[in-house]
Amino acid sequence: MDFDIKRLGFTLLGLLIVLNWGLLMNAFMRKIGARVARRIGIPWHQPWIDLFKNYSIRSQITHGLMFYLGPIFRLSGGVGIFLFMPMIITGDHWLNYSFQGDLVLIMYFQFFGMLGMALGAGEGGHPYSAIGISRGLSQFTTIEVPLTLAIISLAIQYDTLSLADIVRAQQGGFMHWSMWTNPFATAAGMLAALGTLGHSPFNLVMAPNEIPIGPPTEYHSTFLGVLQSNGAILHVVEAALFMNLFFGGATNWIEFIVKTFLIYFWSVFVGMVFPRFRIEQSVTWFLKVPLVLGVIAVVMFM
């Protein structure tokens, strides 16, 4: 493979944009959440402050090698998805490294970070980390079912597994989006998106309210910084995935920002409205309506 400095540069620049947009979006969402709950909420720059603070803390503790490597895996997972996903479809600059692998690679690379995180938290020795991870993994198994059905439906529809090609096929107008050409796949995919983005009702994994601790609890300082960076990137990238799949992708950064915001907002919105599921509820939920929608989507294009 020829080393291409220009591509690397654009990719890093894209990463920077995505990171900052992710932090900002997080702040927005928290703000919105606070307002819905009639609180004032955080200032919009709070995430940057947190990030800076965490990266600068000097005292760090580690439980061992895997604990140490966990956040790295996690961040690699986030960045990796970014790397293998086309961001802006026009031109060649923002396609990142998506020429190295197709949609399947992206789907499986999601596990990279999860696995690393799970291992790191596991070595932390905290029992609740293991509980959270076991729940997260359980839930993830069924989230993926409607999502995969939707993706397969799209793959049949567009006759390709290349994400860039799927986006390109949706160009040429609003009505070419998969959302309209393949509404069932979109519905299934967007319901699955609720799970992947990890907000209520599917956020028992982190359980931010009842249990003050979860996988990230043992992490702090630099480690937490890394995790926060990843969180920001991942949210955007996940949203971008759905954008690419169902909503015609993005031809410029403005469109990118608007679409990812709306997609992200969709999950936050649902989270505001619905209470949290228990784990067995959420596991089975994805095997009900979303599964049916996904099956219909596949059947339509068989």
Partner: protein, 1039 residues
């Protein structure tokens, strides 16, 4: 050449002369033994004489007149063979009974001698009435021998025997005199010429004669008397009854068939009914001698059915009948003799055999011979029998023979399992009397020798080399040497064989090269781990090598017979490997039962193929045009018992989990691939046939469901090795699914998975096995936090699970990517989704595996555990290197595979551009992804190291614990029932329905066996009624 009549004159002369000797019992015994030896010499002389030249049989005219005016005896090849068998058995039987005979005195000696004599004449005579007289001699002598060991049991049973044979011989006499009346002669040949079946009344006469002979063969259900004799008489006598008396009766039946040819058809039915029923009844038997009795009766049934099939079998008849007969002859007598050495009333006590390991080996040889494993003669006999019957389209017969053999396998292997595994510390010591041991040993050796001779007679077995088996025998001989010598030799043997075969295969046959590589290289690697064991590890190396030899034979087979030979050898070897585990007695049994069932399905499939194509070449499978689906299904079921597909999988978890640490990878990573190889061969040969497509479609579903259930069940295991075992089931489900797609990408996926599964499952099983050796438990929740003590193991497991889970960049992802493309290409979306779903479920158990063992809190009792043995680490890291190479350069593997698969499926191949693979749908650059991820990962690592270079290490227990202070590590290790919520939601998928189904089946069969055997209520009169009823009913069936 000594006139055969002197067998009679010498034996009788000596028997009478014993009267002179008075009470000099030792001298008498010496005389009897030398007489028997002389009889052996005479018949051996004739045997050699007839073997070397194809001369006419010798006729001996007693009284000096030609038949039909006087009685004539005949000595031909058949008679020489049978008298030789009888006399040798008589000689060794007498040696075996030395002690008893000396104790009881000369009366018994002369009865013994006369018994053997009677059998000899029964074989030789050509006169019907003479046959009656000598069969009376035989049965009266036997009635005497039964009380050799007079006790409360043997005397009533002797009485039952006397009255039963009295009734039967009355039938014989009645038939004989009327046969004389209707034909005017008593000579068998002349009666045959008279064709009495066409004479009114004459037909009834010969029917009575032949039925009396059949009744002597103890057909079900008119055989209660015989069972009692087997149970109560001294086992040395049981050996004679079962071995030689039965054999003689069979020969007599064979001799008399021309007299009443119409009996053949019903004889087949009667024989097979007896075969199946006696074996069924044997299931609930615990007394070894009676069990052997049931087995004997079953074998006699099979053999008499074989005699009835004479016309069907044509030229092969002699070979088939003789091989099965000889197996029965040696094995049953040998088993009875062993029973006499052990002298216990419960088959569970046979664990005593382990105090004298050579006896255990003999026991194994006998059992395997009865079931028909190679290289023992009955293997070839049964093979030929099935082939010939199939060629005659006798599928009902094939089915019942296979069912009967299967049932026989159940109790014989249960018994073998008891002997190998049950605790024997409570059982008494026993002395191995040389006079008892020698005959048994001789029989074992003769059995193997006849197997070798029989194999030389077989067509379609020329491709196999016997050198590996000889090598194994050598390894067995040095079993007493320390482990490192044997291990080194075994590895050297495998390496040498690899060197012989692999380079050649590489250029000629890629498919076989790959599987041979998995088997042999895998074998070498797993054997390296054996250095970690101490002591002698008796018996391990021979059986492991038998398995590898079987696997190699499968690869090298060009005919179906060679394939089946290897298949059975592999099954036998792996059975012994599996049963070595601590608690694996039941698992090994169920493994064996599924294997036998599968092997019989394969046998039936090959039989049908042979019937149509008249060829034993594996390639001939492709020439089938009729019954393609049936053959395909039969063979597929056979192979799927090894790949443990859903429904046939229940043997696997226990068998793999309880096996020894270095055996689990052998049976999981390597052995299962034999099934895959079989399926591949099958599909290569028959895939073009359009009828297969539908079956393949269902196979695909089966594979998908196997994957789902396997992974789901693995997620709920608490036992590390069991978890991996279920994982293997699921992985083989993937492979089955991919194979069933029957497309280029599908097969590419399957091959890629096969190789990968070999690599990572070997790593995981070896590592976990090594950990288990150190920790001393399989239960994951009893471990935890071992990462610090066992970094080597942790890294190996980490890489193993990443590779297994399919997370990029390691090699597993390649499989997933191929899989997606193949599924979309084939349009099997829903099955694909299920497989994909189960792939994600795999994360659950993989995380559980690594977390419960290596992460979390370290238990107090494991503080001082050290890292895994270096001998385990070496093969593990070699395998890891393999995984890394495939991960970094998938094209090195995928391109040759693609080229190979293009032979069969030229369309839909991947297009390669450097490291970039492109399919119709997607693309993937394994190398590029590896580099990208590597750089990114390193960058972030450096970034973190820079930021947190002063990170302070704390103990694991140093955690924030919800405002409580944790007391003990156990309370903070969340491992037991880890996926409780998931179980609540989806646990119903793994409800043990299939296990329940099989349990129900076995319960049902057992209770059937139990209720049926109530007909033997022990009453001698009832047995007479059965005999009479049998007689009457068969009469009405025939006429």
């Amino acid at each position: 050449m000594v006139n055969p009549i002197h067998i009679v004159s010498i034996a009788l002369g000596v028997a009478f002369a014993l009267g002179f000797l008075g009470k000099r019992d030792k001298l008498s015994l010496g005389l009897v033994l030398s007489t028997l030896a002389g009889m052996v010499a005479i018949s051996a002389g004739w045997f050699i004489h007839f073997l070397n030249s194809s001369v006419e049989p010798l006729q001996i005219f007693t009284g000096g007149f030609k038949p039909p005016f006087a009685i004539n005896l005949q000595m031909g090849l058949a008679e020489a063979t049978f008298t030789l068998l009888i006399n040798v058995a008589g000689f060794l039987g007498a040696i075996y009974l030395t002690k008893e005979l000396l104790k009881t005195g000369k009366n018994m000696m002369l009865i013994f001698l006369v018994f053997i004599l009677g059998l000899n004449v029964m074989v030789m005579t050509r006169d019907l009435f003479n046959l009656f007289v000598f069969s009376e001699i035989q049965s009266i002598a036997l009635a005497g021998l039964i009380i050799l060991d007079p006790n409360r049991k043997s005397i009533p049973s002797g009485f039952k025997y006397v009255i039963a044979t009295g009734l039967i011989s009355s039938f014989l006499l009645l038939g004989t005199v009327f046969a004389y009346y209707f034909s005017g002669t008593l000579n068998i040949d002349f009666i045959s010429q008279a064709s009495l079946q066409y004479v009114k009344g004459g037909a009834v006469a010969v029917f009575m004669v032949i039925l009396a002979v059949i009744l002597e063969l103890k057909p079900f259900p008119a055989n209660g008397w015989a069972l009692d004799v087997y149970e109560s008489a001294h086992p040395g006598i049981g050996a004679l009854v079962s071995g030689i008396a039965g054999t003689t009766s069979l020969f007599v039946l064979y001799k008399l068939i021309p007299v009443a040819p119409f009996i053949s058809d019903i004889l087949i039915t009667l024989g097979l009914v007896s075969f199946v029923a006696s074996n069924l009844l044997g299931l609930s038997q615990t007394n070894p001698n009676r069990l052997l009795g049931y087995s004997s009766i079953g074998q006699l049934g099979l053999l008499s059915a074989t005699i009835g099939m004479q016309q069907l079998l044509g030229d092969k008849f002699i070979f088939i009948a003789l091989t099965i007969l000889i197996s029965h002859f040696f094995a049953k007598a040998g088993l009875f003799w062993l029973s006499g050495i052990i002298n216990r009333d419960d088959i569970k006590d046979w664990a005593m055999l382990r105090k004298k390991p050579i006896l255990l080996v003999l026991f194994g040889v006998f059992i395997f011979s009865l079931i028909g494993f190679p290289p023992l003669p009955s293997f070839f006999g049964k093979w030929s029998l099935i082939m010939e019957l199939s060629a005659g389209n006798q599928y009902m017969l094939v089915t019942s023979i296979l069912i009967g053999s299967f049932i026989e396998g159940i109790y014989l292997f249960r018994w073998l399992g008891y002997a190998i595994k049950l605790d024997f510390s409570d059982l008494p010591e026993f002395k191995l009397n040389i006079s008892k041991f020698l005959p048994t040993l001789t029989w074992g050796i003769l059995l193997i020798a006849t197997g070798v001779v029989a194999s030389a007679e077989m067509e379609g077995l020329s491709g196999l080399s016997y050198w590996p088996l000889i090598f194994i025998a050598f390894i067995y001989l040095i079993d007493e040497l320390p482990i490192y010598i044997k291990n080194t030799l075994s590895i050297a043997g495998l390496a040498f064989y690899s060197w012989l075969t692999l380079p050649e295969l590489y250029y000629t046959d890629m498919l076989r090269f790959i599987f041979m590589g998995i088997f042999l290289i895998g074998g070498i690697l797993t054997l390296i781990a054996g250095y970690a064991y101490k002591g002698k590890r008796r018996g391990f190396y021979p059986v492991a090598l038998i398995m590898y030899a079987g696997l190699a034979y499968i690869i090298q087979a060009s005919t179906t017979l060679e394939f089946f030979f290897g298949w059975e050898l592999m099954t036998a070897g792996s059975y012994f490997l599996i049963i070595r585990g601590k608690k694996s007695i039941n698992h090994a049994l169920s493994y064996m039962l599924f294997s036998i069932g599968g092997a019989y399905a394969i046998l039936a499939g090959f039989g049908i193929t042979f019937a149509e194509t008249q060829s034993m070449l594996i390639a001939s499978l492709s020439q089938l045009s009729n019954m393609v689906p049936l053959v395909f299904i039969l063979l597929a079921i056979g192979f799927m018992t090894k790949t443990a597909s859903l429904g046939l999988h229940i043997w696997l978890p226990g068998a793999h989990a309880e096996a020894e640490s270095d055996v689990s990878p052998m049976v999981s990573a390597i052995l299962l691939k034999a099934g895959v190889f079989g399926l591949l061969l099958l599909m290569i040969a028959m895939g073009n046939n359009p009828q297969i497509a539908t079956i393949a479609y269902y196979l695909g579903w089966l594979g998908a469901l196997t994957a789902l259930v396997g992974n789901m069940a693995a997620a709920f295991q608490e036992d590390a090795k069991r978890l991996l075992a279920y994982s293997s089931i699921a992985q083989l489900g993937y492979i089955l699914f991919a194979l069933a797609m029957m497309s280029h990408l599908g097969w590419l996926t399957a091959m890629y998975y096969s190789i990968n599964h070999f690599l990572y499952k070997a790593i995981l099983f070896l590592t976990i096995g090594a950990v288990v050796l150190k920790v001393g438990t399989h239960s994951m929740y009893k471990m935890g936090g071992l990462i610090k003590n066992m970094p080597l193991a942790f890294i190996a497991v980490l890489i193993g699970i990443i590779a297994l889970s399919g997370v990029p960049p390691l090699s597993g992802f390649g499989g997933k990517w191929l899989f997606y493309n193949a599924v979309i290409d084939k349009h099997w979306y829903f099955q694909g989704i299920i497989v994909f779903f189960s792939g994600i479920v795999a994360f659950l158990y993989l995380y559980k595996l690594i977390y419960s063992i290596f992460l979390g809190q370290l238990k107090d009792n494991l503080r001082h555990v050290t890292d895994i043995s270096l001998w385990f680490a070496i093969p593990i890291y070699i395998l890891i290197i393999g995984i890394m190479i495939i991960s970094a350069k998938p094209e090195w593997l995928l391109q040759p595979l693609g080229k190979m698969i293009s032979q069969w499926y030229p369309n839909g191949a991947l297009a390669w551009n450097g490291g970039l693979a492109t399919s119709t749908y997607g693309y993937w650059n394994g190398n590029g992804v590896m580099i990208t991820i590597g750089i990114m990962f390193t960058t972030i690592l450096i970034w973190l190291i820079v930021l947190s270079r002063k990170a302070q290490k704390v103990k694991q227990f140093n955690i924030v614990y919800a405002a409580e202070a944790p007391q003990r590590p156990e309370t903070t290790h969340q491992s037991y029932n880890m996926y409780a919520g998931y179980n609540k939601a989806l646990g119903w998928i793994v409800a043990p329905k299939i296990t329940e189904f099989w349990n129900m089946m076995s319960d049902w069969i057992l209770s059937l066996a139990h209720f049926t055997r109530l007909i033997y209520n022990g009453n001698g009169q009832r047995y007479l009624i059965y005999i009479l009823g049998y007689f009457v009913i068969i009469y009405f069936l025939v006429f």
